[in-house]
């Protein structure tokens, strides 16, 4: 193959790749929306809304993004464009800057790290763009709106249940999310204040970071269960890690009755709770968050509301009510019917 032919093929491949990537921008709702920001509360036929997700590789964030897209379709005057922050502060901040530069009418931001995004979110507010922070609420802004699922409360509700369930002088292991992650830190803080500070008899025999990942938690628990023959409970800052740790000991003798606590209320955790393999989790209901976010942004853009700050609940999922949430997931297509 001569050099010219090779260059032509290379150029064609690159062009095809660029076109396919350009086609990856996700737009839902009314696709005819045009640019411009004529004032947040001024009535228009169409509003362009940017949703900046924390990371679409994160299963909860992906679920929330999907629910946002579905909910946006219920509003004829809203065009929602979804952007992926890739769990990276720098990328998320650039996305916010781009939303300002592209004069969206509104921006909904799921912060990766509230402190890191705060000045950029403030820029959006100062630019006159209707701004909502969600999951979590970003504190310290002048102006702005929020629809929240509070990570402290999510951890606290499970920790309060564990206070009654974890036996005296128990040995527990603790699995944390990525270092410095806002959600992991807040949930761990809740466990400390609501459980460990009140239960000095409980001993943490191992604690480490498993980066929200099932496989990393599984490897850690395989090793921990060999080093510690008596582990009474797994305390995890999310459900993925809790299910990974359970996978490691599910057929091991001596770990039959191990208690396991997570956060998120993922479909997998809910199924395990129903099957009596996992103890409890608290739900972040992505559908409820999406519904409240889209209602809030619509009300703010159309002038029905001047300011919105609302919270969704953090319902506890145990064996008693797991079926209710499994039905919810079946309806959302996340569990097979």
């Amino acid at each position: 193959m001569n050099s010219l032919t090779r260059r032509i093929i290379a150029l064609s491949v690159a062009t095809a790749a660029a076109i396919s990537l350009a086609g990856c921008a996700v737009t839902t709702g009314n696709p005819t929306g045009n640019g411009g920001n004529d004032g947040a509360s001024e009535n228009k036929d169409e509003y362009r809304v940017a949703y900046i997700a924390r990371a679409q590789a994160d299963s909860f964030a992906a679920w929330l993004a999907n629910e946002m897209k579905l909910e946006a379709e219920n509003y004829d005057d809203i065009t929602l464009e979804v952007f992926d922050g890739q769990a990276d502060d720098e990328i998320e901040n650039k996305m916010i800057e781009n939303a300002i530069a592209n004069q969206f009418d509104a921006v909904i931001i799921q912060a990766n790290n509230a402190d890191a995004q705060l000045p950029y979110i403030q820029q959006a507010i100062d630019a006159g763009i209707t701004t909502i922070t969600t999951n979590p609420r970003v504190e310290g802004l002048t102006g702005g709106n929020s629809v929240d699922a509070d990570p402290y409360k999510q951890g606290a509700v499970v920790a309060q249940l564990a206070l009654e369930e974890i036996p005296e002088n128990a040995n527990v292991v603790v699995l944390n999310g990525p270092a410095g992650n806002f959600h992991s830190t807040a949930r761990r803080d809740a466990w400390q204040k609501e459980f460990f500070d009140k239960r000095s008899d409980v001993k943490i025999v191992a604690e480490d970071i498993a980066n929200w990942n099932k496989d990393e938690a599984m490897t850690l628990m395989e090793d921990w269960s060999l080093a510690n023959s008596e582990i009474d409970a797994i305390i995890s800052m999310n459900d993925n890690m809790a299910t990974g740790a359970l996978e490691a000991v599910k057929s091991k003798s001596g770990f039959d009755g191990i208690l396991s606590y997570g956060v998120d209320g993922t479909p997998e955790a809910t199924l395990l709770i129903q099957g009596d393999q996992m103890t409890a989790t608290s739900l972040q209901n992505a559908r409820e968050l999406a519904q409240l976010n889209m209602k809030a942004v619509h009300d703010l853009l159309t002038g029905v509301e001047d300011e919105v700050n609302v919270d969704i609940g953090n319902p506890l999922i145990t064996k008693d009510n797991a079926q209710e949430y499994i039905d919810l997931y079946k309806e959302a297509g996340l569990i097979e019917k």
Binding site: A57, D208, S251, P267
Partner: protein, 343 residues
Amino acid sequence: MLSTLKNIEVSRYSIYIILLVVVVAASLLSPNFLSSDNIFNVLRQVAVITILAFGAMTLIIGGMIDLSAGAVMAFAGVVSVMVFKSSENMLLAILAGIAIGMICNLVNAFLVATLRTPAFIVTLGMMLMARGAVLELTQGQNVLQLGDFVLIGQGNLGWLPIPVLALIAITIVVWYLMNQTRYGRSVYAVGGNEEAARAAGIAVERVKYQAFLVNGALVGIAGVLFMSRVNAGLPNAGVGYELQAITAPIIGGTSFSGGVGTVMGTLAGALIVGILGNIMNLIGIGSYIQQIVMGAIIVIAVAYDVFSKRGKAKTTILKSDAKGDTIRPGMFASGPGGGKSKT
């Protein structure tokens, strides 16, 4: 001191001696380490990474690299899970995973071998494409309720865990390919000196295609084993696995310059990394310190590789001069572990 160290001949067995030292140290640090439960535990844990490492080793010996292994593994594994859930056919599911791995690597091979695009860039692009593809396929959600699919990753054949059995079988196959076939010798020759290999009549492009396809098959198998082991189709799995896969062969003596490396060295490298991770977990060392230790090992291994080659190159040139030989292209392109460094 430095000149003395440079003159020391690198022992062929140094990696195995290091492995032995690590095993002895680990057994002294934790009484649980040498229990049969823990030995199988370590082997199960290293199986996926070692299989990926054999693929990475093949490419590095051939003068290439694959940064897409982690993402392609996730893509292949999730597709395999989906095929199993829709067909209930284990063989079909495994073949689907292998096919995805090979297709992705066929694209890599086309861009690297035919269009002569740097492997680093091509596989970086493939990493993004494969990750995007698996996230799009699953909409970012884990695939659950795998049924009997977990038997591959969690089951035993007699007393031997299936992932360990797969690791042993793949080690033998890769060893055979690299040491007993024309393909293996060609990979060493291409990585040692591509132009010399071409001058010697080796079809360099074909060898690169073959190396990528072998890597693709291994990545596909790793994906199937991974998803089965964790009992879920995880679209965000394998992040950073490409670097872990590269670490094992480098520690095991594979040269980043190409042309040098062994299957057993890679296996030893993977075991060293796996055992160090295991013992640090057993004695309660946190992940921050673990990262420092792993990073230090990689740096020391690569520095040792570069340092020892400088010594070897100088010795070789001196010997050639003394004999009055002319250094010809390809004269060092040889079999396993004996290739010439480009540095």
